[in-house]
């Protein structure tokens, strides 16, 4: 935890480029992994690796299903593959990821660029708003969505060190810089980026910077807001969620994804069982996206800081109503 105001500056960098450079950095020390591409290395960031390690870069053409199952085969003979394409095309190979990667429990890293409305002008066909949900539903699949370039770098190393199937989102657009060199990504762990006692905002990916913005807005209104970065969506940090429920009593989740099945659902599953409390979900409300600049789309689909703050006010209102009802029904209140 860290009470310093977080840096939310432009990093001048995208998560996909950060991923590509992380591969190059790791490639120097680790000779046991290779990178698989389906004709979009320039888009996924893997062009850096292709240039530096052509012998460890495998091109599959525009044939994602074959590429995904080939990854299962490579892993079975001890070569660790990073399978890279856009998030929507990972879904095209979903069943290959399910059977030939996850069911066979292969050490394959699926890394998807271009998730969510953050894709922007390419429009709905390229904006994956379902990937976290579908990959989360695969048994044994770890699901990761880092928030800034530094975190992508650390997460890439962490998933390489982890033995088993992983799905990780990067991102297309220039990303905000959130963390400094002191940050430590740990698989399966969230971190409190900004402390507060009234409400908790849990976010992943591009929504983390927006959640911090919401935190600042709320603070001006005198509402003490906690912001949690939750880069591992599965397995989710149950302990931290329970702690936040006990300490703040209500939640907002924020993700560049359908509200069905992603981070919000993962948080709700934990809280419904462990300590039910009001939750508001910020995300795309069961629709497809459209063409536009990412920031404009975020505004239109209500994913920005002010919209998260609005959701936080709703969560707080529900918490207050609930507390009033509890007081009224308690014998001491009569």
């Amino acid at each position: 935890m860290n009470n310093r105001p977080q840096l939310i500056g432009s990093s001048g960098d995208s998560l996909r480029e950060a991923f590509g450079r992380a591969l190059v950095r790791l490639g120097e020390r680790r000779h046991d992994f290779v990178v698989l591409d389906a004709d979009i290395a320039d888009g996924t960031g893997t062009h850096h690796f292709k240039k530096k390690y052509p012998q460890r870069f495998f091109q599959f053409g525009i044939a994602e299903q074959n590429m995904m199952a080939v990854a299962g085969g490579l892993a079975s003979v001890g070569v660790i593959p990073f399978v890279t394409t856009f998030a929507v095309f990972c879904m095209r190979a979903l069943e290959q990821a399910r059977l030939s990667v996850a069911y066979a429990r292969r050490n394959v890293k699926i890394v998807a660029s271009h998730p969510g409305l953050d894709v922007g002008p390419d429009g709905a066909s390229a904006q994956a708003l379902e990937d976290l949900a579908v990959f989360r539903a695969i048994p044994g699949m770890v699901v990761v969505s880092p928030a800034d370039p530094l975190e992508v770098d650390q997460a890439t190393e962490a998933i390489l060190n982890y033995e088993g199937p992983v799905y990780m989102r990067t991102g297309r657009s220039a990303a905000k810089r959130i963390f400094d060199a002191g940050h430590r990504f740990e698989l399966g762990k969230g971190q409190i980026l900004r402390d507060g006692g009234d409400v908790t905002i849990v976010a992943c990916g591009v929504e983390v910077a927006r959640a911090l913005e919401a935190g600042a807005i709320m603070e001006q209104e005198g509402i003490s807001t906690r912001v949690v970065n939750m880069p591992t969506i599965k397995p989710i940090d149950v302990e931290l969620l329970i702690q936040c429920a006990e300490e703040t009593g209500c939640f907002v989740t924020a993700e560049d994804h359908n509200v069905h099945g992603g981070l919000g659902s993962a948080v709700a599953e934990v809280l419904a069982q462990a300590c039910p409390c009001p939750i508001e979900f910020v995300g795309v409300r069961d629709s497809f996206g459209e063409s536009g600049e990412p920031e404009e789309l975020a505004e239109k689909y209500q994913l920005t800081g002010p919209w998260i703050a609005e959701a936080a006010r709703r969560a707080l209102g529900r918490k207050a109503t609930q507390e009033r009802l509890i007081r009224m029904s308690s014998p001491l209140a009569i």
Binding site: G61, V70, G73, S76, V77, V79, P81, A104
Partner: protein, 298 residues
């Protein structure tokens, strides 16, 4: 040493026994896919008793050749030949498709470690095999990879993605066998979605194509021997087979594709067709078989 084994092995006898096991395990499971198991078993027999470098005592030996049954529904054939080759005990067969038992309805590496990968969704095992061949070559390991596909399976788009990929990477350590029994699940392959001309299709994708009778051991042997010596391109063996081969009432009939429950009289007729003799009938039949056999004989 390999030649020596070749001279000693009676492939026909092994395959005949394997066919009996296939029928028995499907009878016992009350479901399963006999047709495509019986068409595939001769090639599998040759592979497991002659072609594949493997050590039954060390199924995870790194240097082993890999075999993948991409047409995973035919796993009774794989399980039967594994029993005969000493990769697993025969008792496991009677738990085929049963809750809590290792032999899944489609091959699964998680519960049967000598299986190379999980299959059952047609098309995928082929790509996995390409990945293995690529990975072995990347590590300069000399092992070879064999994969069997059904002819109906060739309708999957993924197969043609892989068909482009393997020659692109010049994977001459990869050998594909197509169990060309002309049938798939509901009907003849030509009625569902025609594949012909099949040989030129593969040739135009830059594969070396060898066409054989998939029940003739001399032809099977010669095809695999040739494949080993082809440099710079993968090989596909089009093995013409008969779906249901060896069981008279199953041969060339799409209704024995699967997932069928065999009646006892069908079991008995099938075992008789396969030359089983009453004294070696499995104990799980509890004597009913012996009586049945007498009553239903021919």
């Amino acid at each position: 040493m390999i030649a020596e084994v070749k001279d000693r092995v009676d492939f026909r006898a092994i395959a005949s026994k394997a066919r009996q096991l296939i029928i028995q395990m499907i009878y016992e499971a009350e479901s399963g896919h006999p047709g495509g198991s019986l068409s595939a078993i001769d090639v599998l027999t040759y592979l497991y008793f002659q072609e594949l470098r493997l050590d039954p005592a060390r199924p995870d030996w790194e240097g082993r050749d890999r075999f993948i049954l991409s047409k995973g529904h035919a796993c009774p054939a794989l399980y039967a030949i594994a029993v005969e080759r000493g990769l697993m005990p025969v008792d496991l067969l009677w738990g085929f498709r049963k809750t809590g038992r290792p032999l899944q309805g489609h091959p699964h590496v998680g519960s049967t470690p000598w299986v190379e990968t999980s299959t059952g969704s047609l098309g995928q095992g082929f790509s996995v095999a390409i990945g293995m061949a690529l990975g072995l070559r990347h590590q300069t390991l000399p092992a070879r990879v064999y994969v069997m596909l059904g002819d109906g399976e060739l309708q999957e788009g993924e197969v043609w993605e892989g068909a482009m990929c393997a020659p692109h990477y010049r994977l001459d350590n990869l050998c594909v066998i197509i169990d060309y029994n002309q049938m798939q699940s509901d009907d003849l392959t030509k009625n569902i979605m025609g594949l012909e001309p099949l040989k030129p299709k593969w040739e135009s994708f830059n594969w070396k194509v060898i066409e054989i009778d998939g029940h003739d051991y001399a032809q099977i042997a010669s095809a695999f021997d040739q494949a080993k010596h082809i440099v710079g391109t993968p090989t596909v063996i089009l093995a013409h087979t008969i779906k249901g081969k060896g069981v008279s009432f199953m041969e060339n009939s799409p209704c024995w594709h699967g997932s069928v429950k065999l009646r006892e009289e069908e079991l008995i007729r099938a075992l008789q067709d396969l030359g089983a003799d009453a004294s070696e009938m499995p104990p799980y039949l509890n004597g009913s078989f012996k009586q049945g056999e007498d009553q239903h004989g021919q």
